[in-house]
Symmetry: C2
Subunit: 95 residues, 2 copies
């Protein structure tokens, strides 16, 4: 019984973190699509802030032993990869 | 048994959040003590960032149903009150 509770709490925690990551993912996609049409200088700052917030959530979930370190870090790694691709595309667009 | 697991997870979560709040509290105290001797213009930004990070952790813990909303918000309210006192003291010190 106790492991069932733990499992469901862990699943819920991972799901919440993934939802937050998906929101940031969407922000990145929107900016990718609008690369040539319009630019918002605050976008970078908003993305950085959101990713920092998510990294704190993930760090907390790992420390609270709700989420395994690898699973938590994986969410961030994927986001950061996409963010790097956005910045790359933005800088090519500038040239 | 299952409620024991939940209770211990909740207690651990609250303890982690309180530890993070205490670290910010210490930053505020240090700045209070150094009010007349030296000023660091980045202090305000560091405090804001730290409090934002903590607010995201607390929000996550509430959504994951690890921590009650009132208990979580209480930690932030107390910190923000101390931060307001610091800014008040800083502005009086400027006059």
């Amino acid at each position: 019984m106790s492991s069932d509770v733990l499992l469901s709490l862990s699943q819920k925690a991972l799901q919440l973190l993934q939802e937050d990551a998906d929101k940031i993912e969407k922000l990145i996609e929107v900016q990718m699509e609008n690369l040539t049409t319009r630019k918002c200088p605050l976008y970078e700052e908003v993305l950085d802030t959101q990713i920092y917030g998510l990294s704190r959530e993930i760090d907390f979930a790992i420390r609270a032993e709700l989420v395994q370190e690898t699973a938590g870090k994986q969410i961030l790694v994927k986001l950061e990869r996409n963010l790097a691709a956005l910045y790359e595309a933005m800088s090519q667009n500038k040239e």
